[in-house]
Symmetry: C2
Subunit: 414 residues, 2 copies
């Protein structure tokens, strides 16, 4: 029998996704199954909640296999999230001392943090502090983000489900737009500040030549209102109803956000501007210049929390990735993030590989320029080949009284 | 064998829904099965397209049972729609003469029009003109509208699917909002100019006491910014994350739309103002007054075209209603709309009943005031009991390559 090494703790951080709970379910399942791990604890609201000792024993809230299965089909973050940015420990050790005192108090030997590039910064800092003070705790990053913008991984858990939802919704909106026999421009705004992966996924909505979306604008390329107008006129030569997919973060040549004129200017803890309104700006511009019916649609939060429409590929990979994270931790890894490596595209197959968290933290992967069409208004077949395997299969909800059932952490835990 | 009486023609009109093609499938199936009916034709883009002789033989585009099944799972309007408002024939007979000449040319004996209250106006005018000129053509209205605002029917085809999608999406957004440990107000704007049925359906998202949505504002009641602020403060006494559901059409006591300050002022063919921005106005107001995180979300077009998430009850009823319409036409009815009559709630059971189209055309059914809470910020249990049966069951998409497959009328037909 393996020697008991201590307890494990897992937290969720950053923006919620529809697959982040699958990763949690994977970590929990593997940790619970290991003889080396005692209790599996959960941080409520990530490291921020942990520092306030808001901790749950996951063995008590996930009592049955059915609970774990329901957790996988529950969107957003079961344990709650946070956006705590740790200071450098070289500058201020206070929070680190508090955290490591709590790790000792709860006999934590394995620390799993599910999050995006900002959260990987937390894993990096904690693991380097552990090295400095000679702590034996393993710090493992489990990636998640719908944005698909993490370095060193083929794609990110959460992206496939968001891409499937976006492609489906864009296809449905395109059907709706075709209903009327008049010229129209419908602009769909999709999440993505600097990386256009989600907006590019709208291209999967096409089922044949000439299908919508007709134009795709990504933040990787400078946006030009003149070129946009010329693009619209060109599409109107062949069809009446134009559907445009645009990333919230598109900027003009001079670096100004297209939405800037209507942006609220709010700033979140990581210094990102709150964006919104790009669709309205482009719809209004088309209405002014072309005197046609226009509509701006912001897909908004449902993009990241549509648990009713999961990609099975995505959900299964997220679950296995969580399990793999525990395996690598037990093998002695620390300061790593578990990435996806695509070993084959046909048939599609990935492997899990730990990479130093420093290669991921704070970095950002954008769409290669070779995958963007020369006119800056579409993606190439290479992108389609890359993205298509990620949206395959469904993990349907468990319905209760006509609606998807969710597993909810009791309110008193928060 | 029944005597062949002539051909049938069917059209779709008004805003698309996720169930309108189920009604079309029902009309087509029953008409095709009848010995009294020859060819089943479709108007492309409703009466407007019919007048331009854009007509398809549905027997050629719906070749197999699989096509009909796929049609039922395809959102928006397969035949395309229009918003043609006929003049009174007492004022101008031109369009009527053109239409009846075409009816004769195509040997039309049965005319089915699937639409909302504006479309029922078309059925009313055509049938009264037929009576005037002694035409034997049957004019039958088949209701559809996600708005659920038609008189004389228990509910409308399309409402149940939209309600299921809205309740699910609101539940998912509520999960997302709970992720952060800070005070927040999320305002979700739902369709509905004068009738709040869709917004009220958000109440179905609750699974227990204290669940979101926390406040529901309907166009049936005057909206007060002061009361809104007091409501928010009261909810903050018991929870951190507030979710507000609001109808696009809410007005203040003096009859001004809440969104008016940001409305674009566009006007559509029926004189309705284009509404939008209510969620932003309420979110911004909360941010100003309460200094908390806020977000406005407009559910927009996906509410009416989410074919990937149909209520089986709704889709089945729409199909049966289409079939019933043909049955009543063959029985000699004309100038009627086929309504739903709820004969029992437990177990839930409806019957189809033709009512004079004049009782439905141009009218509007709003939520009874007894079903709205005294504080004008919620609905009562009576509404829940009414709406719950309508969202039961699922009619999942047929997936192809990871996405819902749709049946699309060849582009050359448009």
């Amino acid at each position: 029998m393996t020697k008991l090494c201590g307890n494990a703790i897992v937290g969720q951080s950053g923006g919620p996704t529809a697959a982040i709970n699958s990763s949690l379910a994977g970590v929990y399942s593997a940790a619970k199954a290991s003889d080396a791990i005692g209790t599996v604890l959960g941080m409520v609201n990530g490291l921020e909640g942990f520092l306030a000792e808001r901790i749950v024993d996951l063995g008590e809230t996930l009592r049955t296999d059915a609970d774990v299965d329901l957790l996988r089909r529950t969107p957003a973050a079961y344990l709650g999230s946070c956006r705590l940015k740790l200071p450098k420990w070289e500058v201020d050790e206070t929070l680190y001392q508090e955290a490591f005192a709590l790790f000792e108090k709860y006999d934590i030997r394995y620390f799993f943090y599910i999050g995006g590039n900002d959260s990987m910064d937390t894993v990096l800092k904690l693991s380097s502090y552990a090295e400095k003070i000679g702590s034996k705790i393993s710090f493992i990053g489990v990636p998640k983000t719908i944005d698909n913008d993490l370095l060193a991984t083929d794609h990110t858990p959460g992206f496939g489900s968001a891409a499937k939802y976006i492609a489906t919704t864009v296809r449905e909106i395109a059907e709706d737009c075709r209903a009327y026999f008049l010229n129209s421009v419908t602009v769909i705004e999709i999440m993505g500040r600097n990386a256009g992966w989600l907006t590019a996924a709208s291209a999967l909505a096409r089922n044949g030549e000439g299908d919508s979306p007709d134009l795709i604008y990504l933040p990787e390329c400078p946006f030009s209102f003149d070129r946009y107008l010329a693009d619209l006129k060109a599409v109107f030569q062949r069809k009446k109803n134009i559907v445009v997919a645009v990333s919230e973060g598109v900027c003009t040549e001079d670096g100004q956000y297209v939405c800037e004129s209507v942006a609220s200017g709010k700033v979140d803890a990581f210094g990102h501007k709150y964006l919104g309104g790009t669709a309205s700006v482009l719809a209004d511009y088309a209405a002014q210049k072309l005197s046609c019916k226009t509509r701006g649609i912001e897909l908004n939060i449902p993009q990241r929390c549509a648990g009713h429409f999961l990609s099975k590929t995505d959900a299964d990979e997220a679950f296995e990735n969580g399990k793999a994270a525990v395996g690598f931790a037990l093998d002695g890894e620390t300061g790593v993030t578990i990435t996806y490596q695509r070993v084959s595209n046909e048939p599609y197959k990935i492997e899990f590989k730990p990479v130093l968290v420093s290669t991921i933290a704070n970095g950002e992967k954008t769409i290669p320029m070779e995958w963007i069409s020369k006119g800056f208004n579409d993606v190439t077949e290479e992108f389609i080949r890359y993205a298509k395997p990620l949206i395959q299969g469904e993990l349907p909800p468990i319905f209760e009284d006509g609606l998807p059932k969710h597993l909810v952490l009791p309110r008193e835990c928060f």
